[in-house]
């Protein structure tokens, strides 16, 4: 089927032949070609449309006629046809209309008038607002993309809310018309011309089974025909303040040691102290108390040592020695131009960043060339080459600073001594053990975090190559053909060398030292971990374009094409022991046998061998078409359809001819005769409907089996069915309805659009009970993972641009606001246990009728005035039965609401005066909740998780009047009591807040002989929260660990020569 169409498309050019008499080109005032302009030969009454490059050809014409050239958004123009040769017609823009932009869908570029869908266009200027080295973070605050900054979800971004429960939720990213398979960090934002975000079905259904999460179409800069050579240079530097390590509240060291003294005197540490088998780690304060009790040191000395520890705050050392201001530099160069039949652009970029974590840095080098060659006016060949090479160094070990299995470190750990020397901190085993362990045979067992910084050698190189070549053929005045092929390769190699100075290597070598034989089972030498991964993606596309217009009253554009894609990714990991980086020698070790662990610190086990391989292949075959019909410049009708077949979809789906499709209608209502609202000279209504798809790569349509040993009766090896074959496994399907109004009023001073959408996701991947007759089991229950769940979102988007100019002061206000509410409408297999829903809103627990990300909490009945115990409600009565309370069902919980903002957006104000301009971006997130952490006595006693709410705890009757923090229970026999309090509604806070995102001051120097343009800008970002609903000073984006992005200052120069 596919090849039938393909060969049809290939054969088309053979039938083309016609006589040519007039050649011309239509461009706008900037010299850019005007596509789809209507050229009317007045006397002969024949019309043609211009090609994407603005060119047109008129056949069998006579001289001394008149050409009438018109295009949407431009004033029409009459040109006498008095001479042979190439005609160049320059069209001037009309004033009242939509922003003059050409949006790109990845398959075609079209003026907004010809579209009905919801496109969001981000131009170069908006992209350059932020000086970040990452394309995505440059989109934050200037688009309606929502970035989830909450600790666990860091980096997740969505367009119009999440469209899947457990499938891939990331929007599709398309770079230069092809889905981008490599790491996004390999894109240099300085190479980007514009970004188009495809939001509704009419906009994105051309991407079929991968469109449901929305599509971000990135267009890189290119050269232009007949343009003067120009050189653009851009340099900028960003300095970011050290992160505020004191942001997360912590219990002061003195209080923590005080608590340890209490626990010690109650015998809490006695089991650990008497454990001389595995020697579990004990903090220095507990060691002092132990030594005192054992009579090894005097009470006075102990008190003195303790009081000196009380003065230490680990954050001081961390902030001083492990963090620094981050520093980023970007250099970008682009040389571009073009002759009549050749365009070229060469760009080079070099970025380097030293991260705020000492020891972490990275750099990136990008090279790109983009040329187009048009030997005949019916043929254009384009070739794009792109090369990125980046390198990352990760030496910072601050995240490894944990003691024992606690997951935290005691707050009075001292990392660096008075003379700047590294000091040891307690890591895995007690100091009295490691002081003497091995009688000098072993390597030092002390953990000195500050030394680790210098010993780490963790490097990753990431390289990406892209070759993109395309041929455009004008077949005749209606048809053109586009052939495209792209090869993309990414290679990532990580090498992490743990030399013998690192604690990691010393610890492993010591653990595997066998004193009985005096053999080091892990040889003395470095441990080298290497991993590599690669991605190879091939894409081929054939597309036929058809364009025709009739007397400029009707215009029809159709594209149809076929695409084939293949992506292979492979990765592997391996480790070398006893590696010597100077001689490149290594040792073989025994990975097979259980080897004794030194001093019985752990049961015998084999030497760790993190060896792994993976290989994945994705194949796609797709057919697509898109048509738009314009009638009297008032009505636009669009249709789009795409059919995907893939090796992950089942046979049933591949064979069924069900495309994902969309249709749309736009009505330029202000052009109707009955429109009398003179205050609103431009109004356009749009209505679209259609379907998008989404793919879950973890699913397979084929049967897979898992082997096991020793069958019943026979002891033979046997196998069980692991993955149920599902020939009808298909993409998740999202129906999207979009209604929009575009308007312009007050002499174009106020422009904007209002969009309302409904998204209905069906066939979402999830678990569902299954008819037992099918025999299908998943994990022992008669359930099935497949296309079973549904959800619904609705939302509103408002964008407004207002020109509030006052005299020579230009003032521009842009407002963006989004409301998105996504709820589960169907989910059959529900585990109703409360614990599945008490997840801080960081994970999805689908429940019919509730938001995807929701905050649930235990109903709170205050503290018991006699004991300070937290109280909840069990069957409507106040209860302290914590075991029953934590085992309630979700129906007994309080439903607080959404855990992600229902409303978010930005307000950008820009003031320009002569060559100066000042701009400020205020962002807001509203209508959501979060659950703040508080003290958990179990965490406090066992895991060194010291929340300062401890100081606010209930201590005596009457305290319940001003605190909700439960009393301390010792021994803490009931962890459910902690869990109940930490999931109770008293800890739920409103997340609403407004933050000042950035302030930009720029100066554009007037051009002179050496440069035509030069711009200086000074940018301050992440200025912080200016209003928040919670009274605890918590940044709702960082409520659960981590710290807010520190303020950064950038200085940039851009000039064009």
């Amino acid at each position: 089927m596919y090849l039938k169409i393909l060969s049809f498309l290939v054969l088309i050019p053979l039938f083309s032949c016609s006589q040519i008499t007039i050649h011309g080109k239509v461009i706008n005032e900037e010299g850019l070609p005007v596509e789809a302009a209507t050229v009317l030969l007045k006397n002969k009454n024949t019309t043609v449309l211009t090609a994407p490059d603005g060119s047109f050809v008129l056949n069998n014409t006579t001289l001394y006629d008149t050409l009438v050239v018109s295009a949407i958004g431009y004033l029409s123009q009459q040109v006498p046809n008095n001479e042979r040769g190439l005609l160049t017609i320059i069209l001037k823009r009309k004033t009242t209309q939509l922003a003059d932009i050409t949006i790109s869908t990845g398959y075609q570029r079209l003026p907004r008038e010809r579209s009905t869908g919801s496109f969001e266009f981000i131009n170069t200027e908006q992209l350059n607002r932020s000086m970040s080295t990452s394309l995505l973070s440059r989109l934050e605050g200037v688009s309606n993309i929502y970035f989830d900054r909450r600790s666990a979800a860091n980096g997740a971004f969505t367009i119009r809310g999440r469209s899947t429960l457990f499938g891939n939720a990331a929007p599709l990213i398309v770079v230069d018309n092809i889905p981008f398979e490599a790491d996004l960090s390999t894109i240099n934002p300085n190479d980007i011309e514009s970004v188009t975000i495809l939001k509704d079905a009419a906009a994105s259904s051309i991407w079929g089974a991968r469109a449901a999460n929305g599509v971000i179409v990135v267009t890189t800069k290119k050269g232009r025909y007949s343009a003067q050579p120009s050189l653009q240079v851009s340099i900028n530097t960003t300095i970011t303040k050290k992160p505020d390590l004191y942001y997360n509240p912590a219990l002061p060291s003195a209080d923590y040691i005080g608590l340890e003294q209490t626990l010690f005197s109650n015998g809490f540490y006695d089991p650990q102290i008497s454990n001389t088998t595995t020697w579990p780690a004990l903090t220095p304060a507990v060691e002092i108390l132990t030594a005192e009790r054992q009579g090894k040191i005097s009470a006075a000395l102990a008190a003195q040592q303790l009081s000196s520890l009380k003065l230490v705050n680990i954050r001081n050392d961390l902030s001083k020695y492990f963090y620094r201001p981050a520093f980023t530099q970007q250099y970008a160069l682009a040389y571009s131009g073009g002759s009549a039949n050749l365009t070229y652009l060469f760009s080079a970029g070099y970025d380097q960043s030293t991260a705020s974590q000492v020891g972490n840095k990275n750099n990136r080098f990008t090279l790109r060339s983009q040329t187009s060659f048009r030997p005949f006016n019916w043929l254009e060949y384009s070739l794009g080459l792109s090369l990125t090479s980046s390198r990352y160094w990760n030496a910072n070990t601050a995240s490894n600073l944990v003691t024992g299995y606690a997951g935290n470190i005691y707050p009075y750990a001292q990392l660096v001594g008075a003379n700047g020397q590294a000091l040891p901190v307690v890591k895995d085993y007690r100091w009295p053990f490691i002081d003497t362990a091995g009688n000098g045979k072993l390597l030092s067992w002390y953990y000195k975090p500050y030394d680790e910084l210098n010993n780490a050698h963790d490097q990753t190189t990431l390289s990406e190559k892209r070759i993109n070549s395309s041929i455009d053929i004008r077949i005749n005045r209606f048809f053109s053909l586009n052939l495209l092929y792209q090869l993309q390769q990414q290679q990532s190699v990580r090498s992490n060398l743990f030399n013998t100075s690192t604690y990691y290597t010393r610890n492993l070598i010591n653990l595997y030292y066998n004193p009985a034989t005096a053999v080091f089972n892990i040889p003395l030498g470095s441990i080298l971990d290497q991993s590599s991964s690669s991605i190879n993606a091939h894409t081929g596309r054939t597309q036929l374009n058809y364009a025709q217009s009739w007397h400029s009253a009707q215009q029809l554009n159709i594209i149809a094409g076929a695409e084939v894609r293949s992506t292979t990714s492979a990765s592997n990991t391996f480790r070398t022991y006893g590696y010597n980086e100077n001689t490149l020698t290594y040792y073989n070790v025994n990975f097979i046998d259980n080897l004794p662990i030194y001093s019985g610190l752990a049961p015998a086990r084999p030497i760790p061998n993190p060896l792994s391989f993976a290989n994945e292949t994705l194949h796609f075959l797709s057919l697509y078409t898109n048509a738009s019909y314009l009638f009297r410049k008032k009505y636009t009708l669009t249709l789009s359809a795409r059919k995907d077949a893939s090796n992950i979809f089942g046979v049933g789906t591949n064979q069924k001819w069900v495309p994902l499709w969309s249709s749309g209608l736009a009505w330029n209502i202000s052009k109707e005769k009955f429109w009398h609202l003179n205050n609103i000279p431009f109004a356009r209504l749009r209505l679209t409907w259609g379907y998008n798809g989404n793919i879950d790569n973890s699913m397979a349509a084929v049967t897979t089996i898992r082997y096991a040993t020793k069958a019943l009766f026979t002891s033979l090896p046997y196998a069980t069915v692991q993955n149920t074959p599902n020939p009808e496994l298909r993409w998740e399907k999202t129906a999207v309805l979009n209604m929009a109004l575009d308007f312009a009023m007050v002499n174009d001073r106020l422009k904007g659009s209002l969009e309302y959408f409904i998204k209905k996701g069906t066939g979402l991947i999830g678990l569902s009970p299954v008819d037992p007759t099918t025999g299908v089991q998943t994990n022992g229950t008669f359930s099935f993972k497949g296309n079973v769940a549904s959800m619904k979102s609705n939302g509103l988007e408002l964008s407004l641009t207002s020109i509030n100019t006052i005299g020579s002061l230009q003032w521009l206000t842009t407002f963006n606001g989004s409301y998105v509410a996504s709820k589960v409408t169907e989910y059959k297999l529900v585990n109703l246990n409360a614990s599945a829903f008490l997840n801080l809103g960081l994970a999805i627990s689908p429940l019919q009728g509730k938001y995807l990300y929701s905050i649930y909490s235990q109903h709170w009945a205050g503290l018991d005035p006699l004991t300070g115990d937290p109280q909840g409600y069990l069957n409507g009565t106040v209860s302290k039965d914590y075991t029953s309370l934590v085992n309630l069902t979700v129906n007994d919980l309080k439903y607080n609401g959404s855990a992600i903002p229902l409303v978010f957006g930005s307000l950008i104000n820009t003031w320009s005066w002569h060559s100066w301009s000042l701009s400020c971006n205020i962002m807001y997130k509203l209508g959501y909740y979060f659950m703040r952490p508080s003290v958990s006595y179990n965490e406090l006693f066992n895991n060194m998780n010291a929340h300062p709410d401890y100081l606010l705890r209930w201590q005596q009757p009457g305290d319940e009047k001003f605190t909700n923090v439960p009393s301390m229970l010792y021994p803490n026999t009931n962890t459910n009591r902690d869990y109940f309090y930490n999931t109770s509604s008293v800890l739920v806070e409103k997340g609403d807040h407004i933050r000042l995102q950035d302030l930009i001051l720029s100066f554009a120097a007037p051009g002179n002989k050496t440069f035509s343009k030069m711009q200086f800008s000074f940018n301050v970002s992440n200025l912080g929260i200016i209003w928040r609903a919670n009274k605890k000073g918590i940044d709702p984006d960082y409520f659960n660990g981590g710290y807010p992005l520190p303020c950064s200052f950038s200085l940039g120069i851009k000039s064009t020569f």
């Binding site: 089927m1 596919y2 090849l3 039938k4 393909l6 060969s7 049809f8 054969l11 053979l14 084939v564 391989f613 993976a614 290989n615 994945e616 292949t617 994705l618 194949h619 075959l621 077949a645 893939s646 090796n647 992950i648 049933g652 591949n654 790569n697 397979a700 084929v702 049967t703 897979t704 089996i705 898992r706 082997y707 069958a711 019943l712 009766f713 026979t714 033979l716 090896p717 046997y718 196998a719 069980t720 069915v721 692991q722 993955n723 149920t724 074959p725 599902n726 020939p727 009808e728 299954v770 008819d771 037992p772 007759t773 099918t774 025999g775 299908v776 089991q777 008669f782 099935f784 497949g786």
Partner: protein, 447 residues
Amino acid sequence: MHKIKFLTLIILLLAISACKKFLDTKPSASLVVPQTSSDLQALLDNSTLLNASWPYATEIGSDDYYVTTTEWETRPAAEKNGYIWEADVFNENERNAWSLTYNIVYTANIVADALNSKIEGSQSEINNVKGQALFFRAFAFNQLLQVFAVPYNEQSPATAPGIPLRLDADLNKKTTRASLENSYQQVINDCKLAASLLPDTQAIKTRPSKQAAFALLARTYLQMSKYNEAMQYADSALRINAFLLDYNSINTSATRPLAQFNREVIFHAVMITSNTLNINAKTDSVLYASYNINDKRKQAFFKLNTNGTQTFKGSYDGSARLFNGFTIAELYLIRAECRARLNQVNEAMNDLNTFLVKRWKTGTFTDRSAASSAEALALILAERRKELVLRGIRWSDLRRLNLATATETTIKRVVNNTTFTLTPQSPRYTFRIPQLVIQMTGIQQND
């Protein structure tokens, strides 16, 4: 122009074959997609499922045993209600006679479906796994028919509902009940095809052989009261191997006198364990009394409890699990019964005597004789019941024998001083389908 057409055609043909291959590529290399006959054999060697998940519903309602009220009280609803022939049996636990047996069907279908695409292996290996898969599916359908469909009767209307026949693993296909006639026909067709593919015997008795397929055919035709066919297939099976275990050679006083995989076993299978049948069941006193003192089975099959009751210990699994596979003795009994019914009295009695002499104490057995086919039949049916105790066969026999007034039985249970009665024509001889299945599929529920 012709050239272009021709070229297009060639490109098209190449493309279609290329497309299929392109879209058939395995998405992840770590997925084990069954590709060889040994992968499929491994699926069929999952004996926990395929040899030990057979429904106890083929025995729970039979008259071979009883339990005390105290014991009965402690059992889950399925066993309790199954014991007293209540309608509500399989609604408490989703792992039941329906779902687990269809899980066997599903696994067999996975294997059969995989054989539709290219599988590496010799032709005989491929035939072997295909035959085994068909046998397992047929045996599962057979068991489901004994539990969830009305007894087969020449006079039963063509519209009588059978069971859902799931013939591939595609879970998207709708579940519907085939007719009773078609359901039995499916068992027979699968079995015949299996018999043509399988080797005469298998080295491992958990794998079905040609002889097992013949045995299943004989048993199925007997359940259908088609005595001619049943006789022929019992005969075919016996031509492969007719060895009978001499009970004088086994230690009948042992805790488990009969060994697993002994030479009389054709195919090994056991029922799902239930305390009612595996532990608590006491032998029906009339049944126990019917064994002659010289019949070695009286000692080999039953343990005497201190309170004077008897507990079955004669499972061919050599354990407390209840064997419901196929033995050569069953074939002799099928052939004998069929011959008696077909008026071949002498041949029938020959079969019976050949079999019985191996069960009796050496030198004590004298050949039985019968003057009429009815007399022969009565003798044979009595011996059939004595041989096939707690084998998952008695329930089917009751269903079949109740079709004729001459052989019908009314059975009773007493629990908590209440007497429950199962009349020969009771609809309770057909279990009700789990309500969950009815809700999800809308198929017809049994009376």
